[in-house]
Amino acid sequence: MESKLAYLYDGSFEGLLTAIYHVYYDKVDPVAILPIWEEGSNFLYTYKRVETDVNKWERVYNAVEEKISHYSLKRIYNVYLSEMEDSGIIILRYLREGFRIGSGTDDYQTNPAVRDLEEIYHKVRLEVHRFLGLARFKRLQNGIFYSQVEPDHNVVALLAPHFVDRIPAERWIIHDIKRGVAVFYDTREWTIRSIEKPRDVVLYEDEEDYQDMWREYYRSANIESRRNKRQQRAYMPVRYWKNLVEKGD
């Protein structure tokens, strides 16, 4: 049986673009493009590692911008951040169509490659939108506003600009504890870094008062005679509840 080729990259967006460069250069048709830690997860695959290389990924990056569109670049970046298993190969198939069709690619909704990409893109954007509302901050003793989140996709970097706009004069952190990465904002600029889960967080003295008020508000805003838990869960999936002040423990 013919073995199936899977490319491996270092997990970065640049690495993914480098892998795509190689696919074109090698003139092959891989079944998957995966981050390095997926190596060996499927014994039908033959794996091929690529080294991230700025000359290579920049070529792809610029080609997407010039031949398709800037918006298209944004979309593949979002899809990359989905961290879904097939996102790499879906991006490749989309780019193949994109380089063929050109700037009108994203209007071509009946094309399966465009549609597959669109589907994941929507999942990521939906989660970003949800977390604009669902990220909760608590004030720590040192004055920093700290938010702990566990999103399905790797979205913290996509959340940052909104919160820079919203709370520009405070220092804050949005920490994805599932992935160990966080956005730090120091009232001037934001950076993204990997961090461990903080051992002991000491809260600002009045923090719990505001949390109590919020829980009280949340309870009394409900209209019992209109109870509709199903709708509540459709909009606010239960998996997000544990980091919500009004829902968690």
């Binding site: 520009p168 805003a221 838990k229 709708q231 606010m236 002040v245």
Partner: protein
């Protein structure tokens, strides 16, 4: 003295029946070093057990009222715990909730404390300090108190995003019966003033950029449905007048929730949610589908059929207009076909330029053919019940689809239908 949390319990409980929690429709860029931005899309921060979105901190400043409206929990004759927030408390909670990303902003209303002017003066202090001292750029929706001086109203208006004045009861008779201290003209006067204010400030802003925005997200109102015997027809007529004569952005409908056992009020066990939903659908038809209230209902047919959406209901009473040829009918007519919405009507028009539209194309464009097929021909062919008999079509639509009453109560009754939540409008 009550502590803040006890006040919050009392004063949010009393405010929650107000449905207009939408925070969209206004963009306010953050001023340098300020706090917050009013975002266009509207952001929900949580959902309560009733499935409604929490976007704004919706509270009363006070529930100690000098008036005695029968339908209202806060009426002076009602025996209940009373509370009043100080401006400091409201400002502090708003800012701290906002920084923790609990809310998009503040929706403040109040019972009438001491006098309308006194209450509005307090409001003014709160919104002015929020904007000027705290540099707060989040969303503010204020419920103005009818009967206050125009000067205060104008000052308040330049600090908020949206103002509303609740009409509550659709007719003068209703007011006389249930809210004898209120007069329709007292309610309508400030609505006129706000409408004039918006126009005046827009004119002035053209000349001087420094003129502040006057309620940039417009004004809205709320009507209670089911507290009086007013028909859907009267309610819808009123809404139409409000949109046309007062330039309102939205009219909200709120199914009457029995909160008091006054003998003047109807004895109902559950709020009329389905009726509320029908009114939202009809309201939609007024605003986006070119319908008029008098087309949808009349003195002889004053209420909607609860089993059908208002457009179907209308179409079945106007069978002489149908079937329409989908490849010829103009945009306005297409909009009147049950099962065709604004989007699909546009798609039909634009793709007709290239080729004739067929059955499968309509499906792909999002037309609900189960309903639409009875009212259209596609290139001369009719796919619905051939006799065009309205009774048969009606039962085919009600019974033939899983749109029974039970289903509707689950999917279509999103409880208010605002907050950016879709009303379950079937086009």
């Amino acid at each position: 003295m009550l502590d803040t949390i006890a006040k919050l319990k009392i004063l949010s409980d009393a405010a929650k029946y107000d449905v207009s929690c939408s925070s969209s429709g206004s963009t306010r860029a953050n001023r340098k070093g300020g706090l917050g931005n009013a975002s266009e899309a509207g952001i929900c921060h949580s959902w309560t057990d009733d499935g409604r979105c929490i976007s704004l901190l919706k509270i009363l400043m006070s529930n100690s009222c000098i008036y005695d409206c029968a339908y209202c929990v806060n009426r002076s004759s009602n025996d209940l715990p009373r509370a009043t927030f100080t401006p400091d408390e409201i400002i502090d909670i708003t800012i701290n909730f906002y920084k923790r990303n609990y809310i998009e902003g503040l929706f403040l209303s109040s019972a009438v404390v001491k006098s309308p002017n006194h209450t509005m003066d307090r409001f003014l202090e709160i919104v002015r300090r929020l904007r000027d001292e705290e540099n707060f750029n989040g969303y503010i929706h204020l419920k103005a108190i009818p009967g206050a001086d125009r000067e205060i109203l104008d000052k308040v208006a330049v600090h908020v995003d949206r103002l509303s004045i609740n009409i509550e009861l659709p007719t003068d008779e209703g007011l006389k019966l249930l809210a004898p201290q209120k007069k329709k003209k007292d309610i309508l006067l400030p609505m006129t003033q706000i409408n004039q204010g918006i126009t005046r400030y827009q004119e002035e802003r053209k000349l001087f950029r420094s003129v502040p925005k006057y309620v940039p997200a417009g004004q809205t109102t709320q009507l209670i449905v089911g507290a009086t015997s007013d028909s859907d027809y009267r309610i819808l007529n009123l809404s139409e007048n409000l949109y046309q004569g007062y330039g309102l952005k939205r009219v909200y409908y709120s199914a009457f929730v029995p909160v008091s056992t006054n003998p003047l009020l109807p004895q109902i066990s559950a709020p009329p949610l389905l009726r509320e939903n029908r009114l939202y659908q009809a309201d939609w038809l007024l605003r986006f589908y070119g319908f008029q209230a008098a087309e949808l209902l009349s003195e002889d047919k004053p209420d909607f059929d609860l089993l059908l959406d208002p457009k179907c209901d209308w179409a079945l009473r106007n069978m002489h207009l149908f079937p329409l040829e989908i490849n010829r009918a103009d945009y306005q007519l297409l909009l009147k076909v049950p099962g065709i919405g604004v989007k699909s009507a546009r798609r039909i028009i634009s793709s007709r330029r290239f080729a004739k539209v067929g059955f499968d194309d309509l499906k792909k464009m999002g037309v609900a053919l189960k309903r639409a097929k009875h009212f259209i021909t596609i290139d001369g062919r009719h796919f619905g019940i051939s006799s065009m008999d309205e009774v048969k079509i009606r039962s085919a639509i009600i019974g033939g689809s899983p749109m029974g009453l039970e289903q509707l109560s689950i999917f279509d009754l999103s409880g208010g239908g605002d907050c950016g939540i879709k009303t379950g409008l079937s086009v």
